[in-house]
């Protein structure tokens, strides 16, 4: 069936709530309103107010209580609305969630998921548009998922909810209405496994979330120019699937990383550093980063679009390697 990314995420939650009555959902405006993007619509009706709850505007309590709930055996799949707001509960996520098991011993595990909507969305401004995955990549102990399609989103979210480890699940606002064929039968996608979204031989583009679409657009343009692009979607940023990426590099010897966060200290910083360190002899040139400018995302839409990557910028970056 053709489903949107938004529906696929909602479906994943509902299926897992049917599978396991320890799965609960809470966050701001998730119940009657079905979340501000409509993702959790229908959950209240099916599962009732004990399984899905609106919270007060209290991100540290949302995350903190998820820790407590998960510690004693519930499986909270919570939401923080905009990913930007993860920063108001940063210590709870970075220090507490990431380290809880390490600090307290192997009896402790945190089967919880934090869902967040991220990315530019036409004038949402500098505090409602951030892609912050890279900040959490620095934290030991977190699993970080950032799906680029409806099919992936559903399969990955189901695995995230079943995982005994805490997962940060980043959804891109601009992807919510994109559609894809979703099988009727149940499926999951394992965490930590990258997906080759397009095969190619001349250059490897590692692209994250919405940027996979932009990379695929760029690949089309480059194909016409005679450059064969392989597009890899890591899907899970931590743990990172080096194998798939390294195998591709052994074939292409050129790498471009495309992400929507700021360039400095972004996802590409780690990936470029790691790849050149571990695959130096396989590379025919530098690992090139295409990322958002190092400016707070401007409100003006022209300037916003100017600040984030697009197919054209990716094409230019790839061409710089030939």
């Amino acid at each position: 069936m053709l489903k949107t990314y938004a529906q696929a995420i909602g479906d994943a939650m509902k299926e897992e709530m049917r599978n396991d009555d320890n799965v609960i959902v809470f966050g701001e405006d998730v119940a009657e309103f079905g979340n501000i993007f409509g993702i959790t619509r229908g959950i209240l009706e099916e599962f009732g107010p004990d399984r899905i709850k609106n919270t007060p505007i209290s991100e540290t309590a949302i995350v903190g209580s998820a820790i407590g709930a998960a510690t004693v055996g519930l499986r909270p799949c919570i939401e923080l609305m905009y990913a930007d707001f993860a920063l108001v509960a940063f210590s709870e996520i970075y220090h507490s969630i990431g380290k809880w098991r390490f600090l307290h011993g192997p009896e402790y595990k945190l089967p919880l998921v934090i869902r967040m909507a991220m990315g530019s969305s036409f004038g949402a401004g500098a505090e409602h548009s951030n892609c912050v995955e890279s900040l959490f990549m620095h934290a030991p102990g977190l699993t970080i998922v950032s799906p680029s399609s409806a099919y992936d989103a559903k399969g990955l979210l189901k695995s995230a909810i079943r995982s005994d480890n805490p997962v940060l699940f980043f959804e891109h606002k601009q992807l919510y209405q994109t559609k894809e064929e979703i099988p009727e039968e149940e499926y999951t996608i394992p965490l930590g496994v990258a997906d080759i979204k397009r095969e190619g031989t001349d250059v490897t583009i590692i692209a994250v979330s919405l940027m996979v679409k932009k990379a695929l657009e760029a690949a089309e343009i480059l194909a016409e120019k005679g450059i064969s692009v392989e597009v890899i979607d890591p899907r899970t940023l931590a743990p990172f699937d080096k194998d798939t990426v390294f195998e591709s590099i052994r074939k292409t010897h050129r790498v471009v990383v495309v992400e929507e966060s700021h360039k400095t200290g972004g996802i590409g910083a780690e990936l470029a550093a790691m790849i050149q360190e571990e695959m130096y002899d396989e590379l025919d040139g530098p690992v090139v980063r295409v990322a958002s400018l190092d400016v707070p995302l401007p409100y003006n839409i022209e300037m916003e679009l100017h600040s984030i990557p697009n197919a054209e910028k990716i094409v230019t970056a790839v061409e710089s390697l030939f």
């Binding site: 007060p56 209290s58 401004g125 505090e127 003006n300």
Partner: protein, 320 residues
């Protein structure tokens, strides 16, 4: 209390201006001239018009996302305000910050934060300067009923109270945080006033649709703060007429209750008061509104015709 005509007309004008600003903003948004989301503050104008009738030169202000038109009440020009809302170079931040950051330091505005509550302590911080200068100025810090549940509100209030800073916290209780009724967002009925005792602060609850009642309650608290007696909380009860953002069909609430509240129209209430007491004539009312309408239309046209900043300029205001 007895009031001068000037005073009453000023309060009325502030109400009408804020209402009209909000109307024009909704209109401009519907026309696709305003990016992102707007949060209409219609129905809640008296909270600002009433509290801001107590200010004096040198006071500071930390407003919120609703209504952002409060910036014009504080003196930001219509041109600047609409330009910023429309993302133009002629806005206060040149369209970089946008709708939720219409702010001018020369008007005493401290700026605000899109992460709710994170700016609560900005008020106490500015109050340190007032203390240093030994004036009787104060800081007005606005926050919503929903935002009352955030931790930084607690930290800011406790700090202001421990340091006895001249800060008035104003809880704009419009009964909702997005879709969540205050009864589910807050453990107490009055999320502003009911917490004041927990910081040793005085407080008042007031009908936020009655600008003069808001003024009177504010004045009492403000007079006390100006005397050096430390912070206080005012809670003003009103109702959010429109959706949280444009497009929100408010499925989570009873339309009848909304209708009831819309009858308590703070602009009309003040207008009726002025006419009943014969402070102004219908013609004067009309003249005020016509003038506002004219000026705002011109400002929107100005904003419309203003350019966006250029790509190079986006780096300009990062470092001083």
């Amino acid at each position: 209390m007895t009031y001068s005509k000037d005073f009453l007309v000023k309060v009325y004008r502030d109400l009408a201006e804020l209402r009209m600003f909000e109307e024009k903003l909704v209109e401009a948004y519907a026309q696709g001239k305003v990016p992102g989301h707007i949060h209409s503050g219609m129905g809640e104008e008296a909270v600002y018009a009433g509290t801001l009738a107590t200010t004096k030169d040198g006071d500071y202000y930390k407003i919120t996302h609703r209504p952002v038109g409060a910036a014009v009440t504080l003196g930001v020009s219509y041109e600047t305000a609409f330009s910023e809302a429309m993302g133009k170079s002629t806005g206060n931040s040149g369209g970089r910050g946008g709708i939720n950051h219409i702010s001018e330091l020369s008007k005493g505005m401290l700026g605000f934060s899109g992460s709710l509550g994170c700016d609560a302590a900005v008020g106490p911080g500015a109050a340190l300067k007032i203390k240093k200068d030994k004036t009787d100025n104060i800081v007005y810090v606005y926050y919503g009923d929903g935002t009352s549940s955030r931790g930084p509100i607690h930290e800011a209030m406790n700090l202001a109270a421990v340091w006895k800073l001249p800060v008035l916290f104003i809880c704009q209780n419009n009964q909702f945080g997005i879709s969540t009724h205050i009864s589910r967002g807050s453990s107490v009925e009055n999320p502003g006033a009911d917490r004041a005792a927990g910081y040793g602060m005085p407080s008042k609850i007031v009908d936020g649709t009655d600008a003069l009642a808001v003024y009177e309650a504010t004045k009492e608290l403000v007079d006390d703060i100006r005397k050096g007696n430390g912070p206080a909380i005012l809670e003003a009860k009103a109702y959010r007429w429109r959706g949280h953002f444009e497009g929100d069909q408010t499925p989570y609430r009873d339309a009848k209750i909304t209708e009831e509240w819309m009858k308590k129209d703070c602009v009309k209430i003040m207008e009726k008061y002025l006419l009943d007491k014969k402070v102004v004539t219908e013609d004067e009312i009309k003249a005020i509104n016509d003038e506002l309408n004219d000026e705002m239309n011109k400002a929107i046209e100005f904003a419309d015709n203003s350019p966006a900043i250029t790509a190079d300029e986006i780096y300009d205001n990062i470092y001083a």
